[in-house]
Symmetry: C2
Subunit: 168 residues, 2 copies
């Protein structure tokens, strides 16, 4: 396989994986493009390479900056904005974990805590089943949350070292 084809495949695969896991396809593709590009790209270049509109490119880049995955840079004497991605995969993973935890997991945890307090008659089977399920899921979700937290604090080697010790 030649480099241009490989790049194309990488961008497509990243876009697909993103969309399967709830991240907009274009956003994942722009990210992929920046990840395999040395240096920076302008909006124009991104538009051209991925055949997307100016509006789409602009919004997607803004989102990526909101996720902390991309930054912009100005070159002295130039008006154009240059975009580049942090290429440290461990940072990327942590950044994504951090945002999704905040945006999606936290609201659910809050609700589950609330639902855990709903009171009812212990003789009522409906209530007992509801209560047990909610309590169990709440425990699981808290474990997931704690794992995210660990991940955010951890250094890469230390983290994977700790997890992989598990195999032995």
């Amino acid at each position: 396989m030649e480099l241009p084809e490989a790049k194309q495949k990488f961008i497509e695969a990243w876009g697909k994986l993103g969309s399967e896991w709830g991240i907009n396809r274009t956003m994942a593709q722009v990210h992929a493009l920046l990840l395999i590009t040395p240096g920076e790209l302008t909006t124009e270049e991104i538009m051209a390479q991925l055949s997307i509109s100016r509006g789409n490119a602009n919004m997607t880049l803004r989102d990526l900056m909101g996720w902390g995955l991309v930054e912009k840079k100005h070159r002295p004497g130039e008006r154009k904005e240059y975009f580049y991605a942090d290429k440290d995969t461990w940072n990327i993973a942590r950044q994504v974990a951090k945002e999704r935890r905040r945006r999606e997991l936290e609201p659910v945890l809050k609700l589950l805590d609330e639902l855990s307090t709903v009171e009812g008659d212990a003789k009522n089977e409906e209530f007992r089943t509801f209560n047990k399920t909610v309590t169990d899921i709440n425990k699981l979700a808290k474990n997931v949350d704690r794992t995210f937290e660990t991940m955010l604090k951890a250094e890469e080697n230390w983290f994977w070292g700790s997890i992989l010790k598990v195999f032995k």
Copy 2:
């Protein structure tokens, strides 16, 4: 909060979380409904409780069975099919991890391995950046894969214990 309201909120939240993470909303809602229902439900009952069509209910239930989260049961002397969900949250988490690993992670791992072998001129910066990114992401993806694998084999307490030991 009263039980019926709490149930409704649980179903909605589970549906929302599902759709944010790439699982069809209705599928997550049907699953949620079955999780908080003692015993079994028929297609009719599911249709009524969630206001969905027969076709949708049928396909969703089939998908849930395909994911190994729901099973059907026949009662002697009755034609109707009764559906119920496995309520063990650790089983659920493992089942979901297993399916998504197989459907989504594995194809990407395969591609990344392939892209890791693309050859090029070490003096070419484009190639070097591509190669480094792909190699790094491949490593990360393999770690994720191994974590899934551990999870599939493990008992719940042992697994979270191992991951959370990391805090100490």
